[in-house]
Amino acid sequence: MFGNLQILYAAPMLNLQLIIDGVLIGAIFALAAYGLALVWGVMNVKNLAQGDFVILGGYIAWYAQKTWGIHPIVMMPAVMVILFIFGWLLYITIIRLVINRDLFTSLLATFGLGLVIQQALNLAFGPEVQVATSGLETRTFFAGLQIAEIKVISLVLCSVLALIIILFMKRSRMGQAIRATSQDARAARIMGIDTDKVYAFTFSLNSAICGAAGVLIAMTWNIQPFYGITYSIRSFVIVTAAGLGNLPGVIIAALGLGAAEQYGGFILGLELQVAFLLIMLLGVLGYRQIQMAKLRQVVQ
């Protein structure tokens, strides 16, 4: 562990490499986390199946490539549409019924949902780790800095998607309705907004975003039916750290988490990377609670 720290100190380029890798991966986390923030903020549903949506999207892209040879990036819009419909169906069958219930209900229901998705994927495609090949190279820059082209492309795609989502939320009628519902659902209903439809759309939009993130994950990293939970946890870390409805915060927290995870994985060793992530979650939760406690004291 200290040996690894010394390596980092001795090789400044390595630091740069870790930070760049982290930021490029973090951009994908930001997508999934933003979806969670949306669903959490608008519907007050904490979706523990978030990561499983991501993995599901990845598997669709991987399967399309394997059977029909479609490039994953080309497949991405189709994946988003499929996941959008999937999200809508889930909303009608399950999520609709948990919105007005206590938080634990939605948490456990989505946990069960995640279980079903991962097991169905496991049955359909087997437990092996899969990668969707992008056919792009890894370039070596000065001083041994290596950057995979696909990671840069995924960063660009993430930015484009984020931009589209921001514009959609600001300009479109549905985006306005979503924001109105998140501010005050009752008032929105009085104003004639069909909140049920807004909820359905929000949840479907979230799963479409997750699907897009999954396609990128399948190309830049790898997918496996049971990897979903780590993405759910990453989304929770990011959203808890950034707060709801705070898109710049989500992006910064996601990029920071990406970099921190790369550092943690390097210093502590890869086998402790997941543990590091979980400890980050506990740390962020604890920090938020202390902040809340302080706030309560001030208010009192």
Binding site: L103, L108, F111, L113, L272, A275, L282, R288
Partner: protein
């Protein structure tokens, strides 16, 4: 719409009405292994499940803190008992690297087996179980210090994170075998004697837990944790030491779960962090699903839920091979979404008079008016 009651739980406080159920449960525990000797280990696991459900319900049902991480204590107990049992005879590091270490092959297991005499085995298992209970209990306030600052769903997420962290940490701890696991000492007797021995241990641990929780729910402690469930801030304002009560409640769960983990580890014979010791997506989620199915916050609900769940699980395992996990996930979703009051809650709503419960008409009217306004 849920109904409002006067004098809830009178079935649960009426010992005479419950007596047939005690006798039925005890009789089943004694007769079942004799009648179905082939299913003795499945019935033993049923008792483990009853223990899981009841210990979860102390926190989840009675105190309103829905933990997704109770399986942590199960795993801690398992590892503590393994360390104690092996450590009483051998050096743990050498044992894990020689037998059932990183390799975990049949040959390396054979080296680790048969090295314990009967005396060493029984002495080890007694101390192992006790140590497991004690250490798991000590871990409860430690984790509580971290997690009890969190409320509601945050607590659930936090406890889930703890349950997911534990196997990762233990998996990288080579002294206890890391991800490869440890081969537990082998029971010196025949296969039948071994099943009977572990059946007795599971049965006894479940019965002790059952009696203890029965007693616990007759004390002021239950009232205090119920007050925390109903309104934590008001409970604190009334002078209940909420943090202390939460820690004690979790420590009680942890004690029995630790013991159960020690027994289960020995029963399995080989332990490793992800699948056996900290199986979050199996036992960890069963613990939550069973009380919910039976009716959380009641005494008999978790017991009933565990029995129904275990039978359903064994049937799906047999008849839906491959799809059992999907079926299980569905079962959880359906229970949580459509049937959250559980079997006991449903029965209480359907036949209130059987439970000696009277529907409070005036309160119902008041609420109808309140909702209408």
């Amino acid at each position: 719409m849920t109904k409002l009651y006067k004098g809830v739980d009178s079935f649960e406080t009426n010992e005479r009405k419950q007596l047939p159920f005690y006798i039925a449960l005890l009789a089943f525990g004694i007769i079942a292994p004799i009648l179905f000797p082939n299913y003795i280990l499945q019935i033993a696991i049923l008792w483990v499940m009853v223990l899981f459900a009841q210990t979860w319900d102390i926190m989840g049902g009675q105190m309103g803190y829905n933990s997704l991480g109770n399986v942590t204590f199960f795993g801690i107990g398992m590892y503590v008992s393994a360390i104690v049992q092996v450590g009483m005879v051998y050096d743990v590091g050498q044992y894990t690297s020689a037998a059932g270490g990183a390799v975990g092959t049949a040959a390396s297991l054979a080296v680790g087996q048969g090295k314990f005499t009967a005396d060493q085995y029984y002495e080890g298992i007694i101390y192992g179980i006790l140590a497991a209970g004690v250490v798991a209990t000590l871990f409860a306030p430690l984790l509580g210090w971290l997690l009890f600052r969190l409320r509601l769903a945050y607590f659930a997420i936090g406890s889930l994170a703890v349950a997911l962290t534990a196997p990762e940490l233990i998996g990288s701890w080579q002294w206890v075998g890391g991800g490869g696991g440890i081969a537990m000492p082998v029971h010196p007797g025949s296969a039948d004697a071994r099943s009977e021995f572990f059946y007795m241990l599971c049965f006894a641990s479940a019965i002790v837990t059952f009696i203890f929780i029965k007693w616990l729910y007759s004390t002021r402690f239950k009232l205090a944790i119920n007050a925390i469930r109903d309104d934590e801030d008001k409970a604190e304002a009334l002078g209940i030491y909420t943090l202390r009560h939460k820690n004690i409640a979790w420590a009680i769960s942890a004690f029995f779960l630790g013991i159960s983990g020690a027994i289960f580890g020995n029963m399995t014979g080989f332990i490793e962090p992800l699948e056996v010791a900290f199986p979050t997506i199996t036992f960890g989620i069963f613990m939550v699903a069973m009380p919910l199915l039976g009716g959380k916050g009641t005494f008999w609900g978790p017991v009933l839920g565990a029995i129904v769940f275990h039978i359903a699980k064994e049937l799906t395992w047999t008849y839906l091979l491959g799809w059992q996990w999907v079926a299980l996930g569905m079962l959880i979703i359906i229970t949580v979404v459509f049937f959250q009051q559980g079997i006991m809650g449903w029965a209480q709503e359907k036949w209130p008079s059987k439970f000696g419960v009277v529907i409070d008409e005036t309160a119902m009217d008041a609420r109808t008016k309140e909702e209408a306004s």
